[in-house]
Amino acid sequence: MRNVLTVILLFLSTNVSLSQELLSQNEIKTFKENVIRQDAQTKTIVSDFIQYKHLSFLNNDIETFGNLAFKAPNSVKWEYTSPYKYSVIFKEDKLFINDGGDKSKIDIGSNKMFKSLNDMITNSLKGNMFNNNDFEVSYYKTQENFIVKFVPKDKGMLKFIALFELIFDKKSNDVIEVKMIEPSKDYTKIIFHNKIRNTNVNNEVFDN
């Protein structure tokens, strides 16, 4: 029985590694160009998302629902709507927080952690984070997706993020999923849906 299980596991793991293929240098170049071109033409993005927090010891992942809005050059609103209300707005080097009605403001210019959080959110939303010197970047493809993996270079950051993955839809070159994997293998997965580029987004969306 144990041998059968080993064979099945081996088969499954080989299958997974087979299904994720490294991109060639040419494929990387084309893929990057497509994403960068699309990003340059993007004035706004709106999307819904579901966040799954996976902790190995829980029966179920913790699901949180929300939506987000981006407006060029650098306004972002990230909002959780259910089962709790919490939003952050990144605007002009400031972070505005609304935690179920409790509002606060943080100057991100002075806070390295929030600055990198902002960069990460904005760039993963846009898909364009290839020029980030903080990560070791590698590129993979499956039948339907491109997968870009980012391993932090900074030892301090490695303590809480082992790997950061962006999963792109091959046809649209849009990020459809973000995954942050901790050294413990617990992870946070965010799946975007109803993502629309260049629709009208009012400035008031970014008022706290």
Binding site: K53, N59, Y84, Y86, D102, M180, E182, D186
Partner: protein, 198 residues
Amino acid sequence: MFLLFSCGVPTIKGLPEYNVNLSQFINPYFANVNTDYVYKAKLNVYDKVFGGILIIKKLKENNHRIVFTTNFGNKIFDFEFIENDFKTHFIMEEINRKIIINILKRDFQILTQENNNVNRAFKKGSQFDIYQTKINHRFNHYVVDSQTKELIKIINSTQSKEKIIITFDNVQNSIAENIQIQHKNIPINIDLTFLNNH
């Protein structure tokens, strides 16, 4: 009479004591291994407010895992109580201080410890029973509604002073939907609201 009780902790001061027929008090709120206890948490520390998610899971008898994350899901700390041991699986560099860990450890031990040996029992009018237990040079007082037998509060004290008050509200199916952890000697308060995860 006044002199006899004046140095006692206010929780039980002047209350009639009775012979307890209960050797252990069982805290029912984090006792089900099949439940993921997920709470929206608000920590008021001095003048600052930190929001996040508190996850409590009973892994087996006398074994609880307690994780606090930001609203984005990043872990702030990850603790485990196993029997009388305490393990830190993870803690953010910024709060990795012995004094902070000790405060959190004490709070969560009081909150989650399931089996508690009862030392003494008191009656507060006809409304409440108070069971006193001894823990690490301090006392825990389990305030229980005499009619419904519901655990209302846990009051942690020294010989003379109340130190930590945990209040449970809106109990549904042995889940306290609102929990407040209040410190009497330091400006740290924690508010928890249950999130229905599945």
